[in-house]
Subunit: 519 residues, 2 copies
């Protein structure tokens, strides 16, 4: 019955925000939780319906605000994929339960899933990966029970891309101290709250000393602070983390990492414990939290009542904990684990994995019914995970102030300018050109192609791609001013086609830029 | 005996390039191969010694040019870690067998391993991951036998980093058509040469449409070309690849990917088949090839004769194939597999994995002796892998010309300028400031923070980090010229602290830059 209501709710959202039918309001307690529900694309409506039905059956009173996002919104001409009414609803409810969203090719440039996460500053993407009963994997019995906490706003996911020349593309990877501190602190607080004993930080700081190096330094600072809570902190290089996930995943507890790394290793972690059909996910900000399955919209299964809804149900368990319905969360989680453990109601994806009878696999709605029937039961062999607070949670506070006066106190120096140009000149000729453009106030430190020095000549033939970066620094004894930078760029623009210019700063006496390879 | 010679060779390299002792030259055939041998740091000298001894025992005549790189070189004050004499040797021999190199903290900013790969334009990093006999893993018996081909020059590994403001770091990810074509063509040629049937391309093109999108498009172009060879081509998103590596790794044959992705998934692949102690690696360029173990220098084991040399021995097998010693390569490989399969000579790392007797584990030199004793034998249960050419290899040719005239024919437009500034202003005030700086020829399209639009106001409170990017585009009816860009930047520099400026190009009618999130 409720399933039909939900489908109706979803259909009517095409004309805007849709409230839960009035007859449901009457049955609810006086101040129910309010949650924005986004049915999403493909199999989204079915898995969201499943979770909603189970939550209702568990007795949690939620006033759902049904809202649109995804494919249909793009097709209506909204290039963000997230319409105003949906944003307004989330501003009101501050909690979202959503199905997967599609970004139709050619209609939207940006994923609506990512846009939602960014617009509401949900900076911590939390991805548990725990061994599940009845889900056979190569790692079963090893006790894998980790959470990947992925930074959700910064890094290459900012999606800032430019062509520096034809056939030469650039994407900016941005990492900030504030963004790093927020997600790392979230990870440590999560460890504290769940009584977990170790936080592993995964970066490529050995290669990217400024960006990933910053993330690592912030981690080390916060690790000191949480050492008093007896939470172990370690930093591992991201490639080693991937390697260790395959070799000995049970060693991990909480892993905190940058956005793209987190994307990769969280899906890897899901792969160790049964796959995306079981992978729950929460996106947490200071104000808003968004709960979603990790899997895509799987359009070929849409409307067929065959998809495994476990991922979204487990995401809704995270949601229940977030809205202080911890008992209901435990009840629903135990019912899901009991259903999986029983092995009698098996969805097609799992039947395929276990080699059992796909013809008689359970439908989405039959699996949902089974979970509802198991509300109140606990799995025999899977101990409940304690996720209650282990003590009073102090309001997280920034370790450092980010106030203007802090930054005003930093001693500034101007070392020069990096200029990217597109040119058909050979490296030597281009170097000579820059020498003549440098003028009295600059000298050419190097010209590089794809990160490797090509001028002054190294005697080696690096392949070039018509895009070069020249580093011009202050001549001996010169103190550069703002006008020197603009004037230099003006001279360059008269003779070369420049596509990018980056200031070389000195902050508190330290160069705020890296060397080139081979320098 | 030869082991002692190698150690002597390594010790004497501190004063420069060291030739193989004269008495060895006399015993060699008239035109032996020449290979630059770099013993490296930590356990490097021991594993290189092992491989060299086995190659000699297999009867391959190689004139080794012993050369320095790594920790000792950094300590001598060479900030590249790769001295001139070593570069000269590689220019002569064009083949390198090397141990791991350290980059001591505080002495070198760039990894000497990476510098070597870049200086010699070894653009294809080839990382086989094949199930090995006697090496128990969770995936044993599934027939994992894949090769990850990793782009080795571009991407974030170019290591171009700047602070855009205090606490705001940026790294440039650069992807080019030429660099992509080289490595993707290498992957398809490798498939052809080894008779492999599938090449999988792994990117994050759904998020990074210009950079990873370019890599994917080049892959799709080349896939058409190789379709006539009946080589299957597929593109998968990198997070799905990581997920599938955990769930069903035997489905993969050759996987080609960008540099950092490749770093992560190649180590993951190694983890599936026994770990870095067994992970061989070749770095191939058009002129030079560098063969090395993937593992680090493991200083705590240095000089103790306990390290497992299998990774470097298998890398030297790749080297033998590269220098047309295919028969010797097969012989050495078979001897290694026979030794592993026998299970009687087990190094400490493997004993630890299998839970067998670590006290009586084989030393590095005992394992080497065992492999030499097995030269000529073949493993009982492991079929030999055919790696001989499957037909005449046509010289790879670029699919597209990269000549200047091609680029001269591209129609150019100038759409505007992205300017990154550091500011304590609120988003609205900063937007107003840019409006007043835009002048008649520009208008403000947006101001964003960490990729998300903050001006014009979206009504949402994205957290900011004192670095903002403003996009200024041509006012209606304005055709921008070079001087407009410089003049705009001049106006900005009088009122705001700018740290980066990027030209917005239009190439053949298409915007050569992406939208902001929420735009």
């Amino acid at each position: 019955m409720s399933r039909r209501v939900i489908v109706r709710g979803h259909s009517s959202t095409h004309t805007g925000l849709c409230q839960w039918p009035a007859e449901y309001h009457a049955a609810m307690p006086s101040s129910p939780h309010r949650v924005t529900a986004i049915a999403g694309d493909g199999v989204g409506p079915e898995v969201v319906a499943s979770a909603v039905r189970i939550i209702e059956a568990a007795g949690v009173a939620i006033e759902w605000e049904w809202a649109d996002a995804g494919a249909e919104v793009f097709r209506r001409g909204d290039s963000s994929g997230v319409p105003r009414e949906t944003r307004d609803s989330i501003e009101r409810t501050r909690v979202v339960l959503k199905g997967p969203l599609e970004t139709p090719v050619g209609l939207g440039e940006k994923s609506a899933n990512v846009t939602l996460r960014k617009l509401f500053e949900t900076y911590a993407n939390v991805r548990p990966a725990r061994e599940l009963p009845g889900v056979p994997t190569r790692y079963a019995g090893e006790g894998v029970d980790m959470i990947v906490v992925r930074e959700n706003i910064e890094d290459l996911y900012a999606g800032i891309e430019h062509m520096l020349a034809p056939d030469v593309a650039q994407c900016l990877k941005v990492i900030t101290r504030k963004g790093s501190e927020k997600v790392i602190r979230y990870a440590f607080e999560l460890a504290r709250r769940e009584g977990r004993r170790k936080v592993t930080c995964a970066t490529k700081a050995n290669i990217m000393k400024l960006t990933d190096g910053l993330f690592k330094r912030v981690f080390e600072e916060l690790a000191e602070e949480y050492a008093v809570e007896a939470i172990e902190a370690e930093h591992l290089i991201i490639d080693n983390v991937a390697h260790q996930f395959a070799k000995a995943p049970a060693q991990f507890d909480i892993v905190v990492t940058t956005n793209l790394n987190g994307d990769i290793i969280s899906d890897l972690a899901s792969g160790l414990v049964g796959g995306l059909g079981f992978a729950s996910s929460g996106n947490y900000g200071d104000d808003v939290a968004i709960f979603e399955a990790v899997h895509g919209s799987a359009p070929k299964y849409a409307g067929k009542d065959v998809i495994n809804p476990t991922a979204l149900i487990l995401s809704s368990v995270m949601m229940l904990r977030h809205i202080d319905e911890a008992a209901a969360a435990d009840t629903v989680e135990a019912a899901v684990l009991t259903t999986l453990e029983s092995g009698t109601v098996v969805t097609a994806d799992l039947a395929r994995q276990t080699g059992s009878d796909i013809e008689h696999a359970a439908s989405t709605s039959a699996f949902t019914d089974a979970v509802i029937a198991n509300l109140g039961r606990s799995p025999a062999a899977t101990p409940a995970r304690a996720v209650r607070p282990t003590g009073p949670a102090p309001a997280p506070h920034p370790r450092r102030s980010y106030a203007p006066e802090v930054y005003a106190g930093i001693e500034r120096g101007l070392a020069g300018l990096d200029v990217v140009v597109e040119s058909d000149l050979a490296a030597d000729a281009l170097g000579a050109e820059f020498e003549s453009l440098a003028g009295e106030r600059f000298r050419v430190e190097f010209v590089e192609a794809r990160g490797t020095v090509v001028y002054p000549a190294t005697g080696l033939a690096s392949d070039t791609v018509r895009a070069f970066r020249a580093r011009l620094v202050a001549s001996d004894g010169t103190v550069l001013g703002e006008e020197d930078l603009v004037s230099l760029l003006g001279r360059v623009s008269e003779r070369l086609r420049w596509s990018e210019a980056i200031r070389l700063q000195v902050l508190d006496g330290e160069p705020a830029y890296t060397k080139a390879q081979g320098q």
